[in-house]
Structures are given as structure tokens and as C-alpha cells.
């Protein structure tokens, strides 16, 4: 019995060892899992924050500008937009909108909706429509029309690639529109000598629309040479909102030699759009819309939009004061660059957002989302990926409008046609 008791005692002493080892092992596994998860989370956070720090350009300027550059302007703009989308009590609407109109000089007589109570909030009132005929178009077909109500801040001729802002401050056209870089695939992959692919209308057998588009191109003298071809067979730089879509283009064979000659010039800039030896130059105009102005914008001429570039930048105020004090303001702010052609050649149209009106709407581009957290994150990721590949981040997401028509190869706009607008927040 004594020996048996000793054996039993020794068994009892050995039991905790395997149990302890098991518990210790499980603890180590758990610790490893938690540690790994934390490391991954930290790396992800750094990944998300790094591009934002990189993208945020600290502007030069007086102390007001420096303070403004530290504020979360886009978040403030989105909050401002949400606040203005809150439905107002009916009894407050008429006095509220009348007070706004008094302060900012809104002409209530020209608004299409005469009953102010029908505007549920300030955002709806801000994006109001006008009565038909309230804005007659200039009769001269050779005139370039004002795209919006506003004030002419600056206009002139682009010399040496520079656009004058206000008070002599300048920024380059490349900074505003993005680099005009042809893709190397133009010469290697694009079937330049093949006829253009049939348009959707042709495929659908809608001959009437095809005829109309051909007539539009003929009447407006719109041809497709350098700008269209230099863009090359573009594939979308996808944002999270963009649908996957292969958008290869097939330029006409007529301009092959012209394009190749252009490519031989070296690094292209927007000035190379001008035909060598021609008497054409690039002009620019800057129109500022005050808070009380009608905030929808229209097409200034008959033209075809071929591409859109969305720069998800900052949202500084674009008031004349800040334009005087913040150099290159338009190249910092979020903007949508629409590139295309009119009868005299290259044409671009750039709505630039501001803190109070950060949302830019383009009627014929349903995928475009401006002042959006999603697109900001997509831009941050694109910047991060470009940095990882050792390439410079271009700063924009591009989409092409080709494909709707073989004739026009872009979205055709008639003079005076509503194109979109600026919305609060």
C-alpha cells in the first residue's frame, strides 16, 4: 500500500505539467494572433494616412492662408452640405430664402419655381433653375458664350504655358489640366490604319442619330486630330465607383503622320496642340460665381467633350481675396477638367470647387463623385500605389467619353446647353 500511494502521489505531481504546457501553448498562439492583428492594423492605418500627408500641399501665403491649410476643409464642406440638406420648417422657408436673397443679391423674379415654400432646404434653393428665356444666348454664332453667371476675374492669352491668376500670380497650364502625356501604346497597339469601330447608335441601327451626329460635326467643323489621338487608347484609372470598362479607341488613319510627327517633338505640353505654323494661340478666361449667383453652368459653344479628369484636391475658398493671396489656388483645389474640341481646335472647361460648394455635378457623367470620402480614399490609394511603383502620382482619375458615337467620339454639347452645376457641400 505504501508503494502504491507513492506512485499515485507522483502521478498527481506530474499532471499539472502537460496541462500547463497546453495552456501556455494556447496562450502563445493567442498572443501571436493578437500581435499579428495589431501589426496589420497599424500597417493599414499607416497605409491610409501616408498618402494624405503626402498629397496635402502646404501652400505659401500669409498667416490666414497658413491657418486655413491646417483645417479639414473637405470634411467641413461635407458637413456644410449635410446641414443644408436638412428640411426646413415650411414657415421658415420664405423668410429664410428672402433673407438669403437680400444678403447675396439673388433675383427672385427670374427663378422658375415662384413658390419659395416648395424649396425644402437651402441646398435646393441654391441649385434653383431659371425661367425659360431668362438667359438669352448671344445671336452671333461665332461668339463664345459665358458658361455661368458671375464675374470675369481674369482673361488673356497663354504665353509660355503660364496662366495668370490675379495680381500677376501665375500657374502653369499643365498644373491646371494635368500633363498632356501620350501613351506609348499609340504607335505599338493602336490599329491606326483600321476604320473606326461602329458606334452604339450604328450597332443599334439608329441611323437618324448617326446622321444627326455627322451633321453636328460637319456644321461645327469639329475634327479629330491631335488631342484625341494623343490621349491614345485610354483605359480608365479606376476609382472605386467606376465600373470596369475597356475603352480602347481607334483613331482615324488620316492623322497618323501628324500624330507621329507630334510625338517626335518630345515631351508634349498643351501648347503642342497648336498646329505648327498655324496662327492659333491658347486663350483662357476665369469666371467667379458668388454665393448668390445661379449655380448651374452651361456650354459656351458647340463642342465635343472627349475626356474628363477629376482632381481630388483640397477645397479652399476661391473668393477673390484668396485668389489674390494664395498662389496657384486653382491647381490646389478639387476640380473637374473636361477636355475636348471645338471648331477652332482644343477646348477645355474646368469647374473648380470651393469650401462651400464642393460638389461639382456633370449632367452627362453619372459616375463622377466629387467631394466624396470614397473618391478621396481611392485617390490616396492611387497615390500610394504610384509611390510604391516609383512613379509620380498624376493627381487625377481619368475617364473618356468616347464610344457613344463613331462620328463625334465624345459627348457633344450645344451652345447654351446646361452641363451641370455646383452644389452646396
Amino acid at each position: 500500500p505504501g508503494a502504491s500511494s507513492k506512485v499515485q502521489d507522483s502521478r498527481i505531481r506530474w499532471y499539472p505539467i502537460p496541462v500547463g504546457l497546453g495552456v501556455g501553448f494556447l496562450g502563445l498562439v493567442q498572443f501571436y494572433k493578437v500581435y499579428t492583428r495589431e501589426q496589420e492594423k497599424q500597417a493599414q492605418d499607416e497605409l491610409e494616412q501616408r498618402p494624405k500627408r503626402r498629397r496635402r500641399v502646404r501652400p505659401e501665403g500669409p498667416w490666414q492662408v497658413q491657418i486655413m491649410s491646417t483645417l479639414p476643409l473637405k470634411a467641413m464642406s461635407r458637413l456644410w452640405g449635410r446641414l443644408n440638406e436638412l428640411t426646413l420648417p415650411t414657415f421658415l422657408r420664405v423668410p429664410g430664402f428672402r433673407l438669403y436673397s437680400f444678403i447675396f443679391g439673388v433675383n427672385l423674379d427670374e427663378i422658375e419655381e415662384t413658390d419659395l415654400r416648395k424649396f425644402p432646404n437651402l441646398a435646393a434653393f441654391f441649385y434653383r433653375t431659371l425661367k425659360p428665356g431668362a438667359r438669352p444666348l448671344d445671336m452671333d454664332p461665332n461668339a463664345l458664350l459665358s458658361p455661368a453667371d458671375g464675374r470675369i476675374l481674369q482673361f488673356g492669352q497663354i504665353e509660355g504655358g503660364d496662366i495668370e491668376q490675379v495680381k500677376g500670380m501665375t500657374y502653369t497650364i499643365d498644373a491646371l489640366l494635368g500633363q498632356n502625356s501620350p501613351t506609348p501604346s499609340i504607335s505599338s497597339q493602336t490599329p491606326l490604319d483600321q476604320p473606326p469601330k461602329p458606334s452604339l447608335h450604328e450597332l443599334e441601327g439608329d441611323e437618324e442619330l448617326v446622321k444627326q451626329e455627322a451633321e453636328f460635326a460637319r456644321v461645327n467643323g469639329i475634327s479629330y486630330t491631335l488631342p484625341y489621338l494623343l490621349s491614345g487608347p485610354t483605359k480608365r484609372r479606376k476609382s472605386s465607383l467606376d465600373q470596369p470598362k475597356d475603352e480602347s479607341v481607334t483613331p482615324s488613319a488620316a492623322a497618323v503622320s501628324e500624330v507621329r510627327a507630334e510625338l517626335a517633338l518630345g515631351e508634349p505640353s498643351w501648347l503642342h496642340y497648336l498646329s505648327p505654323g498655324s496662327r492659333h494661340v491658347l486663350y483662357y478666361a476665369v469666371i467667379y460665381l458668388a454665393p448668390g449667383d445661379y449655380h448651374r453652368f452651361h456650354s459656351p459653344t458647340n463642342w465635343v467633350v472627349e475626356r474628363r479628369r477629376h482632381f481630388a484636391g483640397e477645397l479652399y475658398s476661391v473668393s477673390p481675396y484668396l485668389q489674390r493671396t494664395l498662389p496657384g489656388l486653382f491647381t490646389l483645389n478639387e476640380r473637374v477638367v473636361l477636355l475636348g474640341r471645338w471648331r477652332w481646335g482644343f477646348f477645355s472647361y474646368v469647374p473648380v470647387g470651393a469650401t462651400n460648394v464642393g460638389s461639382i455635378k456633370i449632367n452627362f457623367d453619372r459616375e463622377l463623385r466629387t467631394n466624396s470620402l470614397t473618391t478621396d480614399t481611392a485617390a490616396d490609394r492611387a497615390a500610394e500605389e504610384a509611390a510604391r511603383r516609383g512613379e509620380p502620382y498624376l493627381g487625377y482619375v481619368e475617364a473618356t467619353y468616347e464610344g457613344a458615337s463613331a462620328v463625334l467620339r465624345g459627348h457633344a454639347l450645344r451652345r447654351g446647353e446646361e452641363m451641370g452645376g455646383f452644389q452646396l457641400g
Partner: protein
């Protein structure tokens, strides 16, 4: 908010007296208020 237009057009031509004889011509002045449809310039 602001709209910037950048476009190609035939350069302005002037005679010896400085009068516009062809090409692009602006119809506005800096600081001028404009409305939709009003001419900014013409060729």
C-alpha cells in the same frame, strides 16, 4: 466656385492703328459681371 476656360483660337490680328482686323477678340473686361449666354469674345 469658379470656372476656367482654356481654348485654342485664331490669334488676334490688328492693323497699324491697333484696330482689330481678325482672329479672336474679347468682348468683356476684368471685373465685369456676366450672365449665361452673354458673349465673352468672338472670332
Amino acid at each position: 466656385s469658379t470656372i476656367v476656360l482654356v481654348f485654342e483660337a485664331p490669334s488676334a490680328e490688328h492693323d497699324e492703328a491697333g484696330r482689330h482686323t481678325g482672329g479672336w477678340q474679347w468682348c468683356v473686361e476684368k471685373g465685369q459681371r456676366v450672365k449665361v449666354g452673354q458673349a465673352l469674345g468672338r472670332i
